[in-house]
Symmetry: C2
Subunit: 393 residues, 2 copies
């Protein structure tokens, strides 16, 4: 049989993500290419205890079909947790549970976007979400990132020129750049988009991983008009294998997202939802978050110190105030693809920056390095190896 | 903000499914309207034991991100389990894990269907999968069901007239009718579709719940051409809250489904996959399946006997040879919607048959009744109540 694949799926290339996953199978590799939270931050004892208790006292509910919008006590616990961390939503907002935060752009695209519609994204941005949008046949328009977030003039121009339906942003500790969008820009993005009837998809997987001041208010916090869909994963503060995330939006939007989710996977893993509820309710989340932040801050500092000691002075480095990633841009005398390949030959993996751009084929001098997954020692050794390669060039 | 929802999501109506879920919240209700497997069939002790051991010995892998195609040992265990139950696949076939079998039509539609394409479905068919197809903007063409499966002449005519891209079928113990497609028709469906380049999506959630002879070979078993995508849920033989299903197809198809799944939810719950692997490997599945079959057979007989004793002689009943549903068609002197409403007023819920048809608004005399979820006593009482309503009309 000759397969006729859809235009949508033909727009998705396996290459970049697959190559990275293949690398992961080399046990000798020092990988700065991943993006996994460190298992040191998983509340393993509490999950074990909660799971034992749930499967002892309420196994039928934990193993049975559940409702599409999510397990009601978890929806309540997550709402209260976000409130306790200074996030305040609108009275018209509702929270549902999704199967990882990757499901949020997939459902939002299904509910709002037609083939050929325009979506504005930060350029660079998280490549897998870009692929999710591409898989709906929408056109991506990238906005250049400055050290405090999107270039607002370019954003305004793009909105007037392309009349997009949606904007996708990661304002806290952006993946891949680590950039924090400033308060002023958050407000401007909200105002410009709302004025022009552009929905905002705000992705906040890293907001609870901060190294200094408490994170800035989310764009969602300004959202009196109901124009912001907020995806807040629990993967980085509980555990990603549970595949439990939250989505908060105006209830008219939520109704449609629930219809789309029912068609996609009926509901999210029941056990995973019960576990997250137990964790949010039973453990001291402030203390847990403080521990996570301290743990990642130390690793971030190790990477930063390694870069300062081993990399040429004229590289450009954005110091992340949180999250999991460091974005290094090489001066023109280096070839980024050469560096990535030489490093890999010495068993060090980093992600070539081009895969995060709307145009993956444009020249790119940047690499993304992750400090959440590797050990402190591996970070030091990997940075030292990359530094040696750069010093020889 | 004025929301402009997509044409796709506007095609999905919440009504039918939502009304049923609302009914479930009435504690006095005797519901034959559900479709949940009975918790009596869940291997609860084994799941509890496996979970305890996994979270004790390997918590990091169980809680960490995993790969999109699924946990390799589960993929192997599921493949071997299906083989042990007499299913044999092609050497070009591969098996991946999906988040429930509902995800399979969603991913298959993404990979193969364009807006406006035609999909052939049994008429009636499982309403949620019809909604999944509708959410991709495809047009459904329904084929009348006979007591041994689709009307083959109508199928041939429809294929020549509409040139569909895909056909969706539930050959074993069909939802909602309980019909088993005969061997002859399975072969004919395969031949006609393959000759006309129509992909077959074969859904087999109920194949392991049979009351007499071993189930007939799947359409997939003829699939030398690679034209069949098989969805085989583990929800009905392990537990549905895990949200773990399998999908088996030619590896060229699987590659694309994996790309689509990565964009949809990255991967299926890691814990759920580890649990399923442990269950498939460690328990005597033949004995487990025999117990499940015996348990549902008894309930099916209770419903059947109740119908024979309490319903008018001229109703039409298809005797299911497996699965979870019984489909009753009333003579013309009754109004099906009236019956459903009267029953509901007496706290008995059944599903009005019209929601399973491509055209939900056409006149319909059938109801679907489920015997897997309610207790034996509730089945008897509910059937008695419906019988009394029918005898008064």
């Amino acid at each position: 049989m000759e397969y006729q694949f859809s235009k949508l799926i033909q727009g998705i290339q396996p290459s970049a993500a697959d190559r990275m996953l293949e690398q992961m199978n080399n046990p000798q590799l020092l990988s700065l290419a991943g993006g996994n939270p460190s298992p040191e931050t998983f509340p393993i004892d509490e999950i074990r205890r909660a799971s034992g208790l749930l499967l002892e006292t309420d196994p039928i509910h934990v193993l049975q079909y559940s409702v599409t919008e999510g397990y009601a006590p978890l929806r309540k616990a997550a709402w209260e947790y976000f409130n306790s961390r200074g996030q305040h939503f609108q009275s018209e907002d509702e929270l549902i549970i999704t199967s990882g935060s990757q499901q949020v752009p997939d459902l939002a695209a299904k509910c709002f976007l037609e083939y050929g519609d325009i979506v504005i994204v930060e350029d660079p941005s998280y490549y897998l979400t870009l692929d999710t949008f591409r898989s709906h046949g929408v056109c991506l328009v990238g906005i250049r990132m400055e050290e405090d977030g999107m270039d607002i003039q370019e954003l305004e121009n793009a909105i007037h020129r392309y009349q997009p339906k949606m904007l996708y942003t990661i304002p806290n500790f952006h993946n891949p750049t680590g950039i924090t969008t400033s308060s002023e820009k958050r407000k401007k993005i909200y105002d410009i988009c709302t004025r022009n009837n552009v929905l905002i998809l705000e992705d906040n997987p890293y907001g609870d991983i901060y190294f200094g001041d408490y994170p800035l208010p989310l764009i969602k916090s300004f959202d009196t008009e109901g124009s912001v869909i907020l995806a807040q994963s629990l993967s980085k503060i509980i555990a990603p294998g549970l595949r439990v995330s939250t989505c908060i939006a105006n209830k008219k939007i939520i109704q449609k997202l629930v219809l789309a989710k029912r068609c996609a996977d009926v509901h999210t893993s029941t056990w995973g939802q019960y576990i997250c509820e137990q964790i949010l309710v039973n453990i001291d989340m402030d203390e847990h978050i403080n521990n996570i932040c301290a743990y990642y801050k130390e690793k971030c500092n190790i990477m930063r110190n390694g870069i300062e000691q081993n990399f040429p002075d004229d590289i450009k480095l954005i110091y992340p105030k949180g999250g999991m990633f460091m974005w290094v841009t090489l001066p023109e005398r280096f070839s980024m693809p050469d560096l990535v390949e030489k490093a890999l030959r010495q068993n060090v993996a980093v992600v070539p920056g081009n895969i995060f751009f709307v145009n993956q084929n444009a020249p790119c001098q940047s690499i993304r390095m992750n400090y959440s997954t590797p050990s402190a020692e591996d970070i030091s050794n990997a940075i030292f190896t990359i530094g040696k390669i750069l010093s020889k060039d």
